[in-house]
Amino acid sequence: MKRPLRWNIALGVVLLLLAALVLAPFWFVLTGSVKDPAEIIARLPTMIPDNFTLQHYTKLLAASDYPIYMLNSLLVATASTLVTLGLAIPAGYAFFRMSFRGRETLYRAILLAYAFPSIVILIPLFGIFAKLGLVDSRLALVLVNVAFALPFAIWLLRSFFAGIPVEIEEAARLDGGAPFTVLRRIMIPLVAPGIAAVAVFAFVTAWTEYVFASVLILSDDKRPVPVGFSGIIGQYQIDWGLLLAGASLSILPVVILFAFVGRWFVAGLTEGAVK
């Protein structure tokens, strides 16, 4: 459909404002992380750095536990993603491809997980984990992150499973495939984009979680990035260069992941949502 010129201008203005709103903060952080300390707090902010320096990154990587935090976060987020996938795929398959009694009720019960404040379970969960000896372990973080990602992960798979023609599955079953084999050989390859969407969601959920990690992890060498990073903020009140470098590095893994499979996540949200 052709648009008249004035609508093109309006669209252009809105898109520019949108880009500025979303991207400008990141631009200032990324460029700030390679500026001289003096330039960072200059009265007139510079769009493009006058001087390029890696001193903040060197300091961050050499003098703080940041590399350990990154490693912890990568471990926890990867494990959380794998466990979420392992639980969500069979559940999603059953919910959206099989009919059974109580299906709707169970499905709604899962979605109710979104209707309570997650902080409610922080206190009891701490007690339960303390009894099981899980406090101050990365496993505790994996369990919590999976619990937070799982309900939405199942929901995300909905449109991907629903979009597969019944005939394909029936043909596979007539050929004598056992249900688990059908799921593994036929369904999983067909819903691969949906699995990518769930993986992004689970990884991001784990990568960004702060509150539970800050309570459940006690020792410094087990901290994930969000907790470790907030510790650095506390230690070096005004070293903005160090903080900007840390912020830039913490964005990196999710940006890389998103560059590869982000479009599937977007497809999952835009196609699966609000049906």
């Binding site: 398959y93 299906r103 009891p124 960004t208 479009r263 977007v266």
Partner: protein, 292 residues
Amino acid sequence: MKLPRHILPFAFIAPAILFLAALLLWPLGQAVVLSLQDVRSVGMPGRWVGLENYAEVLTDGDFWSASWLSLLWVVTNAVLQTVLALVAALALNQNFPGVRIARTWIVLTWIIPTVVVVMIWRWLFSTSGGIVNPLLMQSGLTDAPVGFFARPGTAFATLVFINSWRWFPFITLMMLAGLTRIPGDLFEAARIDGAGPWKRFSRITWPLLAPTLGVLLVIGTLLSFNVFDIIWLLTAGGPADGTRTLPVLIYETAFKSYRMSEAAAVAVLATVFLMGFALIATRWLARPPEAR
């Protein structure tokens, strides 16, 4: 091994259900138990006190001021997020060069840790250095730096802005789902009949998008209510308790005052509010539009 046909689906679902029951439902039940007891420290056996904690909480001014702030927080965020998302979704629903990239990368604000979001905005809004204050002073809007987090009102408004900035792209994508589902033929037919852009929006887009907007307002409300980390890391509920919403109050009561049972009572009350809201809202949305 061959499972009977009616058991089979449950074999697929059971691991996920059991996991959620153990990590969400069981602790939720424990929270209810905790709220009926007097517990001094985690793990210690409690003394049953019935509804005493609830009576205490409900007669406490802190609870009511936090409830009020939570309500204000949810409404302002839901409105700002939805408006921003609607504008963004309408723009991203158009065809222009680079639209795929724009649609994928708009969620950038959501994929980064909250701590980083917080740090970015603390720096941008900072009174020493930062970007916002120099810009405001350059353009002559103010002659002294604005302390965005210094007063309760501005701190609250600033937090609403930051939180909405964080979440509106997520809502935008879901709104795009509603928009892409409107058949293009409708617009074409309306255009041939001579309907202008505004008429096409008000007669086609808006009515067809309204149910989606309703669902997204509910989702936005639930998301906003639960926000704790942004508030805690930026203002910790201050200044002068001006940003102490219910989740902040729960956290403070439990982990700063170590009054676990009272915190659990507040948490249970908040859960009841939220579940009640979710149930009423979904019922209302499930009704046909004419009956509303």
